[in-house]
Symmetry: C2
Subunit: 312 residues, 2 copies
């Protein structure tokens, strides 16, 4: 099952860090994209091939360091069918390298429509008795605004196929509080969602006491994550917002349980475009990503150690 595999990889690699594969064409080294522009022109195909080559190089340089990667589908979807082709091939390549893939898709709808998204991303689709997998990943992110029944539509595939899901609870953007922080009978909306998530998590516990259903909890709101950790005892946290968005290791230490587990910390720009920082060169963008990944792991692990949350 997803959550057990995730924890095994975390322990084996001594790393709670995951890499967000959010390719921005304008930030991809020109040495990568110029050859495709030359061959195909400045078009969607060249963009897609540039993204794929870039992602593969990043994966080559980090696959032994992290348990999972998290491609953000929007950055592929904007390049249309060609972009989604790069998404699928990126996911496949990551899996070949032994990584878990978390599709950051933030889907969610009602009834059979939610089930259709589940079919697409973590389940399969039945065509007159034949089964096909399409955008197959190991876990996805989903949006909770439509209520628990909309999330429940994913539970069939999660239970039967051993897949994972992270429900948006508290997001990293400034405006996240506009709905999420509203208070109802002394409870914030994000706490209401957190209770819903914990309930789903407890239905799907694995060997380490964590469930297949977790929560997206931003690094940028440390006080809230402390509170949320208590509410969602068995839920794994997917934590965006470290690095480029301003979250530090100190900010995220309360996302972890006393066992040093319970959270994966995601960084995208800070790692994949590390070559733009001082001391690196465009030519060695893979190496730059590797160095920044190692730094991030050390930063988090040493903070965990200081807080008596060693998991290794």
């Amino acid at each position: 099952m997803f959550i057990d595999e995730l924890i095994e990889k975390i322990k084996q690699k001594r790393s709670n860090v995951i890499v967000g594969l959010d390719p921005r064409l304008e930030s991809i080294p020109s040495s990568v994209k110029e050859k495709y522009f030359k061959e195909y022109g400045k078009n969607l195909k060249a963009a897609s091939l540039s993204i794929l080559e870039f992602n593969k190089t990043i994966i080559d340089y980090v696959y032994d360091l992290v348990p999972a990667v998290k491609p953000q589908i929007a950055f592929y979807e904007q390049y249309g069918m060609e972009g989604l082709d790069a998404y699928i091939k990126t996911c496949d390549y990551a899996k070949e390298k032994g990584l878990l893939v978390i599709g950051d898709i933030k889907r969610g709808d009602i009834g059979t429509t939610s089930k259709a998204y589940s079919n697409a991303h973590i389940g399969d689709i039945d065509i007159e008795g034949e089964k096909f997998e399409t955008f197959q990943v190991d876990a996805i992110t989903v949006s909770p605004y439509l209520g628990g029944d909309s999330i429940d539509e994913f539970m069939g595939d999660i239970k039967e196929k051993g897949k994972g899901m992270f429900v948006l609870v508290k997001t990293s953007n400034k405006g996240s509080g506009q709905l999420q922080d509203l208070e109802v009978d002394g409870k914030k909306i994000y706490e209401v969602v957190a209770n819903m998530v914990e309930n789903f998590s407890q239905q799907t516990l694995g060997s380490y006491g964590y469930g297949e259903v977790g929560a997206v909890v931003a690094a940028t709101f440390p006080e809230q994550s402390k509170k949320l950790r208590k509410i969602m005892n068995t839920s794994y946290f997917l934590v965006p917002g470290y690095g480029a968005q301003g979250g530090t290791a100190k900010d995220i230490v309360d996302c972890f349980n006393e066992d040093g587990l319970g959270a994966i910390i995601s960084s995208s720009r800070g790692i994949i475009f590390a070559y733009q920082k001082d001391g690196y060169t465009e030519k060695n963008y893979g190496k730059a990503a590797r160095c920044e990944t190692i730094k991030m792991i050390e930063d988090i692990n040493s903070t965990l150690e200081k807080n008596n949350k060693k998991f290794w």
Copy 2:
């Protein structure tokens, strides 16, 4: 701009009805799909071609009756790349027939990620100075859980390209109340979102006094829609839940303003799979869809007339 075009088509066709193109392969007549299964086997390609042919026939039979169609992308996404190919071709065909296309995509994320979804569905993507359109539709649905700043990322394309957006306010599922009906300082969450939507709408008013930003308000909760109509004075409502989901013309009459405008009522299964009802045959599935569309328009228009809300 989207909203003006929508209202012009509504007036010209005397119809507030839109058709949801949510193809379920198992409900597509076997006369359509068997020939593709024979030619290509039972696979994604055959499924995609069946869906496309089915949709085109439905469009042929309803395009003169309705202002817009609303394909639900999940039902295409579950067939992978082949399915999304059918989505794009369905949208293109509907546009050729003079219909507006509302992509029911319920996307939403933060910052540049939301912008990437906007690029994909209502904007364009820049590849070193060259612009490309990918899943181009006239309007989309978006999810508000991440807050106003996440929705604001779509406003650039809405203003510059004259596109539309419907934000989820009150959805039609049973569990919709779990978050949406919670009360904060005497205000339901859906009212908080409604105020946000109305604010965006007022920034984008067209010639008829309605804005480019509207709201998804379900037919299944008539009391709430009455309240919401007052809060969102200038916002157009996209109303799902009529027919198969249980909403009647009486239930949705308060979604309209006194001018008989302000809402489009969507039906999917009840129209596109009408051939399964008594009195129709599989062979004439297009005609069945046409008959049910006419019935629905008459049902709604006569109810509007009785309530002094004639718009024609």
